[in-house]
């Protein structure tokens, strides 16, 4: 009454070839973005003889150090399932605040940095409260927090740049050399990235944040305090933005009202690019590093090749769309459910 069915050898071998093809495509899914980074690197190295020079590589790394710090914080927010669209304005606010505290309030560099970081943390905390207590979706809450931070920025600076000599020790953040040769901003970016990596991957807190971002209901029913996870993630995003603002002011030598605004777009792009690498669909620090490096190389390479200034903007937009669509087409970004 039953009819056993067997498959032929021919079919088996066909499956063998399909197996091989699909395994290689899993590799592409995981490391495609890294390969893209390598491709960008090779193309610019061939196209410009200055791209690979020690000076230029050092410049690129210093340039992306601020973006790396800001993006590390955003990575945590995105890992928890939230956006932070106030990021650019918080970076700008951090930048003018640290300058103003040193120049106008005559505080020491250390105290100014500490207070600025606390301000970033406070804004992140408010964002977190809006998201959890008032149940405002983070996309809206942080979109609204952006102009609020901008308003605070203008109220503090009157919209002017803060030019004046800042304490010498403050410039160590941009000009210093760790062990006499590692530029301080690079060292800071590396330390921040490592700390955030350990936080997300090796701590209970980070695991709770990642679980919340993966499935908030399941995380809650597993005993994770999901609201706390989300608040802390938003706080860390504000923290990253404030630290980025401080580094930016040290590099520019002045507090400029709009200096940090562009970091929203760049860090979003970096995180989304990162979500297509290593652990597809997940915001990870290691992925964000790849994203940041790609953006840094594109900016610098296009400059070296003498591309018109507006091309960088076009490329930014296209890279962001490409990153997200790649991820969504492969149904890997669960973030946009």
């Amino acid at each position: 009454m039953s009819t056993p069915v067997s498959s032929t050898r021919r079919q088996q071998s066909e499956f063998g070839s399909i197996v091989a093809k699909l395994q290689s495509s899993t590799f592409v899914a995981k490391y495609g973005t890294v390969l893209a980074a390598v491709l960008v690197f090779v193309v610019f190295s061939l196209a410009s003889d200055r791209f690979l020079s020690v000076d230029n590589v050092s410049i690129v790394l210093i340039q992306i150090s601020v973006l790396m710090v800001v993006s590390s914080g955003l990575t945590v927010a995105v890992a928890s399932g939230e956006f932070d669209l106030s990021l650019g304005q918080v970076t700008s606010l951090g930048g003018v605040l640290v300058a103003g505290l040193m120049i106008w309030s005559q505080l020491s560099a250390g105290m100014a940095i500490l207070l600025t970081i606390l301000a970033g943390v406070a804004i992140g905390f408010v964002n977190g409260m809006l998201v959890t207590w008032l149940r405002v979706p983070s996309m809206i809450a942080t979109l609204a927090m952006g102009p609020i931070a901008l308003g605070l920025n203008y109220a503090y600076t009157n919209g002017d740049s803060i030019y004046a000599r800042m304490p010498e020790s403050f410039y160590y953040i941009s000009n210093g050399r760790i062990f006499g040769f590692i530029p301080a901003p690079i060292a800071i970016a590396v330390v921040v990235a490592i700390v955030f990596y350990v936080l997300l991957n090796k701590t209970r807190l980070g695991r709770g944040i990642v679980a919340t971002g993966s499935n908030i209901q399941a995380a809650r029913l597993s005993g994770i305090k999901v609201d706390r996870s989300r608040i802390i993630a938003m706080v860390l995003s504000g923290l990253g933005a404030a630290m980025g603002g401080i580094m930016l002011t040290a590099r520019l030598g002045s507090g400029q009202s709009g200096a940090g605004d562009a970091y929203l777009m760049d860090s979003m792009t970096a995180v989304f690019l990162g979500m297509t690498a290593f652990k597809p669909g997940r915001a990870t620090i290691q992925g964000t590093v790849v994203g940041v490096v790609i953006i840094g190389m594109l900016d610098n390479g296009l400059n070296l090749l003498g591309a018109p200034f507006y091309l960088q903007n076009e490329v930014r937009g296209i890279v962001m769309i490409a990153a997200v669509s790649l991820a969504v087409l492969r149904a890997e970004i669960r973030f946009f459910r």
């Binding site: 039953s2 069915v5 498959s7 499956f15 399909i18 899993t26 679980a211 305090k225 997940r282």
Partner: protein, 503 residues
Amino acid sequence: MSSASTTNPRLSARSVGKAFHGNPALIDVDLDLHGGEMLALVGANGAGKSTLVKIICGAYTADVGAISVDGQLVEIRSVGDALAAGIAVAHQQIAVIPSLTAAENVMLGREPSKAGFIRKAALYRSAREILLRFGIDIPLDRDCEELDEGENKIVDILKALETEPAILILDEPTASLTLAESRKLFAFLRGLKAGGMAILFISHHLGEVFAECDRVVVLKDGRKVHESAVAATTPEAVVQAMVGRAVADTTWSSCIDGAATTIVRDAVIAGLRVPDLTIAPGEIVGLAGVVGGGQTQLVETIAGAGAKFEAREIVVNGKPGCPRSVADAIERGVYLVAEQRIKKALLPGLSVSENLLIASLRLLSRTGFIRDRQTTGPVRDAISSLSVKCGGPDQDVLELSGGNQQKVAFARWMLRMAKGDKTLKPLLLLDNPTEGVDVGSKAEIYELIQALARNGASVLITSTDFPELLKLCDRIYCIAHKTVDVCLPRADFSEERLLLAVS
């Protein structure tokens, strides 16, 4: 089935094969479906049923093989191709729009209109004609959210029939229906069959396969392993083909040990009245009701995840008062395996290991840092103790089959119990724990539940699969009219009584 096999098949698939990520999902499958027959396609989760259905309806393309309709070879590359070939599918998820009426849903996308405005009277007339044609009765002017699931399923199928297909594929149409609703659906399907429709019916419920279908095809690990007329086989033979071995029907014995440690008296929880509910250590208590009857809110409240509620007396696992949070409940040894695992229990995109550890982080990382040294052992133990089939602890949990996903949801608490206070007798809250789980894994989950009860766990289990409750429970509370009302002791168990009590 007698006449069916002598005619030419309406749909015939030959040597169909398909692989994903290197894993063959379907290997050399032949399938014939005749007009006027209902063919059951059964198999464990991951056996290849969905893949085969998706190939037939154009959602996937086969790597190898051919499909013909009425003897004509057809090239099905998209859902549109399948529709053009006369193949329609009603998916497992009911796709009706709750805020529209039944008639508006039936006519969705083909509303009679004049100058862009919908002609309401004509719409209802057409919908009534369709109902009349298929000999069914549904309140057409009511919003679908007011209809029961069974009626919604029929509306859903009526929408699929819009293209006047000759071949209808039903993917687990009864998965979320009560028995009474299923019966109504089958009356409708019998009518369709009598009209010459070829129906491919995918189901996990062998009872309805044997009651309603003509032939049965069993898939296992992507291959067809059994095909016969329903009249010529037995459920036991089909199950054996599905799991590849005989499934022992577990013998039941009560393990009740002492007085009730969980008590809910005169409570109203999310609109559900609970006059008196008790669970003792070692006892397996069932909660029977229709889908959406409030049982989920009840168990989630006991697990510390519910909204505010009133109760005259509530004791949860030996401690008075309701847990204030899930963390509080877990401290008390109250563990919830939530319904709809993908939505409520699993962390998609995270690994098996991360999914297993999530409820035990506090025990395993006292300093706040998670160290592989402390986690690999417990994870390995949890995977092996429930024989979770996975590529390793780092595999994405969503890549597992439904049965193995559910085992992960269970194993999360097994890991917690193994690492936590061993003297604490747990209260397990299992919300529809075998939903979409294959027969083999079901049997393993039953054994697990019984083993836990033997070790002194209190168990509260909800299910829409009543035979499952009858098999496992010491007592079954029945939810009717928004009240946890009748409590049947085991001596009074019968499916009929249960059906009467919940309807």
